[in-house]
């Protein structure tokens, strides 16, 4: 035990003495947290809408206004004809175009159907899909309003016409801000990078300068060495977690509904994964750069398949099944749940169990490989 404490103390001294290291622990995560929180947004805002109004009636203007008061669209102007709209789409000046034909208002008055043309730039499939959904919803709402008027004009139809009215309520994030969902995930990202990369690099550094061999000829056992090397990074990771969570709560106003204890428990299980990964990377690397690359490579996999950006259910079935083996996914779900939904232990037993199993597997493999390497 005393030996472990000595190594821990030595390691701490080494970290605190290194200005670059300190910067990486404190400054880099803050910068990342801020830039990511603002940049990694899946919100739909400022969709560029161009329109052509051939009808020029109060009804057609009402439809155009409905678009701009919705808050999703910004106007890039009225075009004189369809050709112009198409060229704006081609040049990227407009994302969506609306074409109101001649006779639009008359058709409504006569009880015919008036077609309205929407053309969507489909390049960015996610934004286009949602932009299209909003645009069609606006048109539907307009149509419903007109139906309502019709109903008032024809009281005899009244009893026959029935309507189902959806009343929507959002739980946890009523304004549907993507920031609320992303920031807890960014916290996961930060502690993964810090704990995984730094551990890997710290061990390889000893290898690089040859002190690892020296340590191995001392009475220190590999287990003590591993404990001494990883414990400082457990502290640093927890410091990072607390620090980033506080910024999330007080600066970004992310609600924290769950229990701190549950978060700490989950973090301990997750650190087994990242520290294990760092250690594992150190066994296959000769220089720090390789360790860094190796950790980064696996982390990239983990992040991409975690549902960080888009729900994992969207993925093809076989990739979706693979994501169950991804510890990043489970920890991210736990953290998002704790922050936003106030999940309790019984809600996330599957995630906990998988995280525990995967963590033990990764850390165990790392320890075995590390001991073999030093024999």
């Amino acid at each position: 035990m005393k030996t472990i404490i000595t190594i821990v103390r030595k390691e701490f001294q080494q970290i605190l003495r290194d200005k670059g290291m300190l910067r990486m622990i404190v400054a880099v995560p803050i910068i990342q947290l801020f830039i990511f929180a603002y940049a990694v947004t899946t919100d739909l805002k400022n969709v560029k809408l161009a329109y052509v109004d051939h009808d020029r009636t109060s009804e057609s203007r009402q439809l155009v206004d409905a678009f701009f008061t919705s808050g999703y669209f910004t106007s890039v102007g009225m075009a004189e004809n369809q050709t112009k709209l198409m060229s704006w789409l081609m040049e990227g000046k407009a994302d969506i175009t609306l074409n109101i034909p001649i006779g639009y208002a008359e058709g409504i008055v006569r009880g015919n159907v008036s077609d309205v043309g929407l053309i969507v730039d489909g390049q960015n499939s996610s934004l286009s899909g949602r932009g299209r959904g909003y645009a069609e919803a606006i048109i539907r709402t307009e149509a419903a309003k007109l139906m309502e008027n019709k109903r008032l004009e024809h009281p005899e139809l009244e009893t026959k016409m029935h309507r189902i009215v959806p009343v929507t309520r959002y739980y946890y994030n009523p304004e549907l801000e993507s920031k609320k969902y992303m920031v807890p995930a960014i916290v996961v990202l930060l502690i993964s990078i810090i704990s995984g990369m730094l551990t890997g690099m710290a061990v390889v550094k000893e290898k690089e300068v040859g002190t690892l061999e020296q340590l191995m000829v001392t009475p220190i056992t590999p287990m003590q060495f591993i404990a001494g090397k990883t414990i400082p990074f457990i502290f640093i990771a927890f410091f990072e977690l607390a620090f980033a969570s506080l910024i999330a709560i007080f600066f970004f106003k992310i609600p924290f509904e769950g229990s701190v204890l549950l978060m700490i428990a989950a973090a301990i299980l997750y650190l087994q994964v990242t520290l294990g990964a760092g250690l594992l990377a150190s066994t296959v690397s000769q220089i720090q750069q390789q360790a860094m690359f190796t950790v980064w490579f696996f982390l990239l996999f983990g992040i991409l398949m975690s549902g960080f950006f888009y729900p994992v259910e969207n993925m093809p079935k076989w990739i979706y099944m693979l994501t169950y083996l991804n510890p990043v996914r489970h920890f991210m779900e736990i953290m998002r749940g704790i922050f936003l939904k106030g999940v309790t232990f019984s809600d996330i037993i599957p995630q906990f169990a998988l995280l525990f199993g995967l963590g033990t597997l990764i850390f165990g493999t790392a320890v075995i490989k590390f001991r073999k390497m030093n024999d």
Partner: protein, 368 residues
């Protein structure tokens, strides 16, 4: 020329000898394209919905059937009471609950409107918005049917005729794969070159080379030449996978694309060179390249996240990133069939000139 080739040959040998750096240069982009192509699917394909049917009549079951008959909407086990809603959300068992209130069928017969409650897990805001859209569209369809029964008209007074251009099936891979070319070229050209030059500096071999009869310019050109080739190979590989695995179309011209890609490779190399003039060690070069080029390209260029939704400051930064313009060009060419990019060309050339001249100036200065 012979000297340049000699330096290039030496650098190529360096790369080939280290299997790991070769893996980074060739295998990583391939893995990335497959992974990004499949894993970044932005379209919600399966929307899990639970029903809380408080009415329990044939009419309410029919409503359930109507809603779930829509594509994408997958019903999960019905829930018995309201208290199960939140715990289901917390466990992620479904994304939305449709509550059919008591007396639904009665209202259907007697009154004009019957409310139905839709409760959505809003934690993931943008997915929640899509969920809302799907469910509302399903109910609008039902209403339309009811209206047609009353009026004998099939449709609402206004119909949207929607056409989607450039990516009609809204396939994510068609958006993501061309973007990857921009990302990988920065990775190879800026990251690997800056590390390679910093390594020579670290080990002192750069100075040795400069004292030889090889001119500094020849050293630089010779050193970056293999990376140009690797970058071009990577771009070709990604585009080939995009074409044959993900069916990404090419509506423009390969020839124009090649031209802009060469321009973009040169700019990326300039960035790598610039970073290497600041970095004394490989470590610093790597972190600077990651922070200064790869990360901004990943998140601020419009590769995945629309810059239009970002705050003003970040939108300004994105205008200084070469990838922002290259992305528009490659997507414009492949998806739109656009061939004329006056603004993007001017921006790229300007950025490239500034980056390269500063890099060369600083490199010379450091040698003196």
């Amino acid at each position: 020329m012979r000297r340049i080739l000699a330096v290039a040959r030496k650098e190529t040998r360096h790369i080939l000898r280290d299997p790991r750096s070769l893996a980074v240069a060739i295998a990583m982009p391939l893995i990335m394209v497959v992974l990004y192509g499949y894993a970044i699917d932005m379209e919600l394909k399966r929307l899990t919905v639970a029903f809380l049917d408080l009415d329990r009549t044939p009419a309410s079951s029919e409503l359930q059937m109507e809603i779930t008959s829509s594509n994408f909407i997958t019903p999960v086990q019905a829930i018995p009471n309201r208290s199960e809603i939140e715990s289901g959300f917390r466990r992620g068992m479904f994304r939305a609950v449709v509550v059919i209130p008591e007396g639904y069928s009665e209202k259907l017969a007697t009154s004009l409107e019957s409310p139905v409650q839709i409760l959505i897990d809003g934690a993931d805001g943008s997915t929640a918005a899509v969920v809302d859209n799907y469910l509302n569209a399903a109910i609008a369809r039902i209403n339309r049917k009811l209206a047609s029964e009353a009026f004998g008209v099939e449709t609402l007074p206004i119909e949207a005729r929607t056409r989607i251009l450039f990516n009609p099936q809204l396939i994510s891979a068609h958006f993501v794969v061309p973007g990857l070319v921009a990302l990988v070229l920065v990775m190879i050209c800026a990251l690997l070159t800056s590390i390679a030059i910093a390594r020579e500096r670290e080990t002192g071999t750069l100075e040795q080379m400069l004292t030889s009869p090889v001119a500094p310019a020849q050293v630089i050109v010779g050193k970056v030449l293999p990376y140009i080739v690797i970058g071009a190979i990577d771009a070709a590989l990604i585009l080939a996978v995009g074409r044959f695995v993900f069916d990404v179309p090419m509506n423009g011209s390969w020839f124009v694309l090649a031209g802009y890609t060469i321009l973009y490779i040169i700019i990326s190399l300039g960035l790598g060179l610039l970073i290497s003039t600041f970095a004394k060690t490989q470590q610093v070069a790597m972190i600077a390249a990651l922070m200064g080029t790869l990360l901004p390209t990943l998140i601020l260029s419009g590769f995945l996240f629309a810059t239009s939704s970002m705050p003003f400051m970040l939108r300004q930064i994105s205008k200084l990133i070469p990838a922002t313009y290259y992305l528009r060009i490659i997507r414009g060419l492949m998806l739109k069939g656009q061939l004329w990019f006056p603004f993007e060309t001017v921006a790229l050339v300007t950025l490239g000139t500034v980056i390269l001249s500063v890099a060369i100036f600083r490199f010379k200065e450091r040698l003196d």
